[in-house]
Symmetry: C2
Subunit: 236 residues, 2 copies
DNA sequence: AGTATAGGCGAACTGCTGTTCGATGTCAAG
DNA sequence: CTTGACATCGAACAGCAGTTCGCCTATACT
């Protein structure tokens, strides 16, 4: 935990291909078998015929701090830093627990447009974006990848009990029904905003839930629905 | 995961003392060393002079489903059912993740009084009560044991943007400042309620945040503060 | 060209480790 | 009392596994 992901990856890149192969195999073996491999098992898996070569690289990995070894003991290999520790442990922990890690992709109604990850993005746990942990109860069985979060700026939804600074959890979807609270991207204005959605045929009415604010009218072509509000989290 | 704690404990009690000692030692050894012990290491730790006896009891533990063994492989012991699996894994997962498990102790403003666990309760993860997982960001560094959650019933705090059905996260504390949103227990009325707190000297004013509702006035002796609102979670 | 240096190979050695087997003790059922 | 199941013990064995050592190859530096 004393090394962050970027630093670990940088250190990992310093290793030779063989050392990477050995380290990967050891990690996989321990995860699958529940006990560490022998030198000869490592050699066989990594196409190394000589036990001394495995031993040599193992020593290197120990010196670099990736492993610990109990001298003279069979299978006396212990993982020290898992490259995946911080990231993947959090993923596994989230799976074990009733928790989803939702990417917090930005602030809504901000000067810059909020760039949402595409629908085709495979890894839900991009380390570059903040995440917020929410109870899976809030997702109603949706996959974590279908969900994202935005922090609300402004009081335009105050009557919907959504305050400035609240975090809204949204389900990624392109369509919605009248009256739904949705995040929409307005290409014309180059901004993302949170409003109640009403299709009036020739135009879309985006209705703030604040009596002192006027609705926005946009052409259907200029209104991309990003997602529908699933829940609200407020930290006081 | 297919066995709950009670069932596992019952099965554990069926084991002989030696088998318990062996199982405990194997668990401890793996946790401390990172790799499983040899038969002779087990024997030494459990005061068994013969390797065959260790082997004999190991076979029993495998037959009972506590362990798995890779035949002919040194240290080929793998733990199958940890007695602490379900509960402690959730705890460890919560620690690894930026998540706290907060006991959801009941609904507020209900006919029955909400019984809060005492201040001295040691285990924060009582399996008897529901828990809700919240981001530790909401706790502002507080220990999970200082925090609990209640589900709000009624719209008395609607102007504080807290709706019927919302879950409020509270910090356990006995005092508060004027204007704080607090959960208070009213012994006279035998109920717990969520209100804004105002000390008017001779009496306490518990102010709903709803213009259509009147404040409650109680004697300071008849008003026990349970906790102060840290955050709000709403699932739509 | 000479020479460190790093990485690799294979064999041999030694101690570790799981397995097996015969013998012993205990205890309850027949 | 005998029997058999269960648990234990000690010893021997064969294979497993970490270590070491001499030798080889390629690269880079002098």
């Amino acid at each position: 935990m004393s090394y962050d992901d970027a630093e670990l990856d940088a250190l990992y890149d310093l290793l030779s291909d063989r050392q990477k192969a050995i380290l990967d195999f050891v990690e996989r073996f321990i995860n699958e078998q529940g006990y560490p491999p022998t030198i000869r098992e490592i050699g066989e898996a990594c196409n190394i015929t000589s036990t001394s070569v495995v031993n040599y690289n193992l020593k290197k990995l120990v010196a670099e701090g990736w492993l610990e070894r109990a001298a003279e003991k069979s299978r006396g290999i212990r993982l020290v830093r898992h490259r995946d520790s911080a990231k993947q442990m959090a993923v596994r922990a989230a799976e074990a627990l009733n928790v989803a890690r939702v990417p917090l992709v930005g602030r809504i109604v901000a000067s810059e447009p909020v760039m949402l990850p595409g629908d085709d993005f495979g890894q839900y746990y991009d380390p570059d974006v903040d995440t917020i942990e929410v109870s899976k109860d809030m997702l109603h069985g949706l996959a974590p990848g279908e969900v994202f979060a935005l922090q609300v700026q402004g009081k335009s939804m105050i009557d919907a009990l959504i305050d400035d600074g609240d975090v809204v959890i949204l389900r990624r979807q392109k369509t919605c029904n009248d009256g739904d609270l949705v995040a929409v991207w307005l290409p014309e204005r180059n901004e993302t905003t949170l409003k109640a959605f009403y299709d009036e045929g020739t135009r879309i009415r985006l209705q703030p839930r604040n009596p002192s604010m006027k609705p926005i009218y946009v052409h259907p072509n200029n209104c991309q629905i990003q997602g529908k509000v699933l829940g609200v989290i407020r930290m006081l």
